[in-house]
Assembly symmetry: C2
Homo-oligomer: 197 residues x 2
Amino acid sequence: MSSTGEIEALIDLMARLPGLGPRSARRAVLHLIRKRALLLTPLADAMQTVAATARECLNCGNVGTSDICDICTSEKRATGELCVVEDVADLWAMERSGVFKGRYHVLGGTLSALDSVGPEELRIPRLIDRIASEQISEVILALNATVEGQTTAHYIADQLEGRVRLTTLAQGVPIGGELDYLDDGTISAALRARKEL
Amino acid sequence: MSSTGEIEALIDLMARLPGLGPRSARRAVLHLIRKRALLLTPLADAMQTVAATARECLNCGNVGTSDICDICTSEKRATGELCVVEDVADLWAMERSGVFKGRYHVLGGTLSALDSVGPEELRIPRLIDRIASEQISEVILALNATVEGQTTAHYIADQLEGRVRLTTLAQGVPIGGELDYLDDGTISAALRARKEL
């Protein structure tokens, strides 16, 4: 490498981001150096700010810049519905759809005996507390349709049985999906859950 | 979006990096927030440093942290060979191969009448100066094998004709390349330049 230490160090750090490898990190750093005033300096500043302010919401586990996140403090979202997701990324995905108006509970992963992730690590006791304290009437289990996600959903369903209305996301053909490209599991699920026209 | 302004601003900036879109930028930012001490803070610091120190070498156009880059100042690399490349990324790629021991000249692009990029914009006058002042005996034209790269190489060859030995990178089958996956142009070039065993 011909680039000097500082640039090399930046490339190494960039290459540790998910989705970037050594080649794309080099390309990104050259782009940053070319767009120093427009991109590199603002990006460095934005990172400093986020490093100093970002924190986990003590109530739901969302990422924000205060102890309790904007969704938890918003009076508009006290609808009595609580959507349980694995990850902050899933919460953001739900928010982009713009359909859900209630609050969230971020587990921060799935149950895993192998990695010794038990209910305590996943904020499940906190979820049970919230159902009483926030007068929750419906818990929507929006966990990923993977084995781990579904195992965790079953465990939570067992814990909450009888205390609250429990629902889960519908499974079926995704919008714009072509049958020929779908896996067998999705097609069987869509067929089993078929609806009257 | 449920994330607060500061995090949103960081995602928007990250999404402007080449190779990252909105989705991968969100994933990268969540990863950065999770690895705050290990990754986010060091990355912000590295960016500040590079923003403050990175500059173009006044001699060859390479990116470094001093007015004249490490390659240009190294006495070991005064071999009389000068490798002309389009871009700093190409210089880095040449350096990774570790074979070339001389110095570089980075054009910063290719000639383009449409974008009004002429010889002055590409440091071609500076290249001609260097051939005399650095006692260059051979100029290796390592431009990309694209129409623009080859047009620029032809122009430079015309300018330097008779003053210095001119060479270009060999064209042929890449190492590990399978004939079935190569384009016709590469196969014809490799056939025309065939060698005795």
